[in-house]
């Protein structure tokens, strides 16, 4: 069996990711209290549940179409800055052709395309204490892993690790985007809410995949 993912894998990835995020939703809202409006847990769970729902819908369209539609659905439900960016990311993944099955290289191209879409909407870069601190290294890790011929499971594991370190690093940063940017030094010491949920997203992707391969 070749190393590819199909809609069933994608479905499991999003189910696991939603699970992770739901589980930490109170923490995510608390992190958003530091400089934001204290609702990130609520908004990101709403977005994740929409993605889960879309991935579970019956349809035999290619993965890119599924992702694009799912991303736009998130852009439909609304939920602040994080949903707009997450929706853009997922929809953007579908801007490259993925077919009904795709290998690690294609998948990495999809993630890279999603990141490009996000970068069109925000000027935030790693270091600005936003979800970009987790998203950018995660996508780079997948690309690197795919480039050196790693398996999908391995690539996602590396992405999850990169996202987690990226989120962790936001603790030492001062926010420059989002609601928290007005607070300056006060945001030092606690992690960015959006970066933390992106780390959970990739952790969910990874564990879902790891588990599947163990079977």
């Amino acid at each position: 069996m070749s190393d590819v993912i199909c809609i069933f894998d994608l479905r499991r990835m999003f189910t696991h990711a939603a699970e992770q995020i739901r589980h930490e939703s109170e923490l995510l809202s608390q992190l958003d209290c530091v400089g934001g409006d204290g609702d990130h847990g609520t908004t990101i769970v709403r977005a994740m549940e929409m993605l889960e729902y879309e991935m579970n819908a019956k349809s035999d369209r290619p993965l890119d179409v599924r992702l694009r539609d799912a991303g736009w659905s998130v852009l439909g439900v609304g939920g602040g800055a994080s949903s707009a960016l997450l929706g853009t990311f997922i929809a953007g993944m579908g801007d490259v052709e993925l077919g009904r099955e795709c290998d690690c290289k294609r998948l990495a191209a999809g993630f890279a395309s999603g990141l490009r879409a996000v970068e069109k909407q925000t000027k935030a870069k790693p270091g600005d204490k936003t979800m970009m601190d987790a998203l950018v290294p995660a996508v780079q890790a997948i690309e690197a892993a795919a480039g050196s011929g790693e398996s999908i499971a391995r690539a996602l594991k590396l992405a999850a690790d990169a996202a987690r370190s990226g989120a962790e690093a936001t603790k030492k940063m001062i926010a420059r985007y989002g609601r928290a940017k007005f607070l300056g030094e006060r945001t030092l010491g606690s992690a960015d809410a959006g970066a933390t949920s992106i780390a959970l997203l990739f952790q969910g992707f990874s564990t879902a995949f790891a588990k599947q391969k163990e079977v």
Partner: protein
Amino acid sequence: MRMKKFINDPRQLTAELLEGFTLAFPRHVRLSGTSAIVRATPKPAGMVRMVTLGGSGHEPGLSGFVGRGMLDASIAGEIFAAPGAVKCIEAIRDACAGGEGTLLIVLNHAGDVLAANIAMQAVDREGLNVKMVLTEEDISSSVGDRRGLVGCVAVYKVAGAAAEAGASLERCFEVAQRMAGNMRTLAVAVRTATNPVTGQPIFELGEDEMEIGMGQHGEAGTGRMRLKSANQTAEIMLDQLLTDLAVSADEEVLVILNGAGATTLMELYLVFRRVAQALEAKSIRLVRSAIGEFITTQEQAGFQMMIARMDKELIELWDAPADTPFFKMP
């Protein structure tokens, strides 16, 4: 402080509040789709439409100003959350279908701006005639990326009056930009709000603390200090605003005091009194004012003070008739 609110299922909160709002003001508004509040009686065809967007939980908030002389549509998000970009695209399409172009007024908050930008890119591709104005008048942050606070109401009022009088989109845009560029706001809080969905306060202030520079959603500010009297608070805030706006003697200004939720109108009158006295002492002419609750932050205690430089035309547009649920000019 434990949350004590009259709500039902928090997940249904926004849907229920929009339903209640439209039931309460059937003469003014109706719901279009799930989350656009539009006028009960649309403007005649061939006139510019005024559209805004923003999260719920700030009632009367943006939707409270939909009606003759102000907005044509307000796209409501969930509590403290920008509406989805797709909803914005749909509402702008609807607005453009009836009118001579659409002016989209957006308060500068990351989520709202992201949604608005995605929507603008989409409707531009469709060739619709839409212009966007950003309100960013909170002087607690540095120039270039300031939050939008209660000042949007002044923009709705003057640009809405221009649109109602048949002005072109370019003209409405110009008026909105002029108003937006001439206003400054600062917020203060003495007690924070609880988020009705999570049930949690965003942060807590000490027993005798107040904080200047608060955001619209209870986001912490940057000027924590001991609680001051009405007079002192008025002076501190007014001075910062006048300096930032560089107002000089004999200029004409509009002042808006916007209660955050729990602070009483009684207190706002006291603050307003001092503002009026201080302006008089500086020979700055207080030509118009509005005092009340326009864009709230749940049961937060505090208020926003907005000051705007007015010219003859802006005053005329401010005085033009308006009939919306929460702002009326006879």
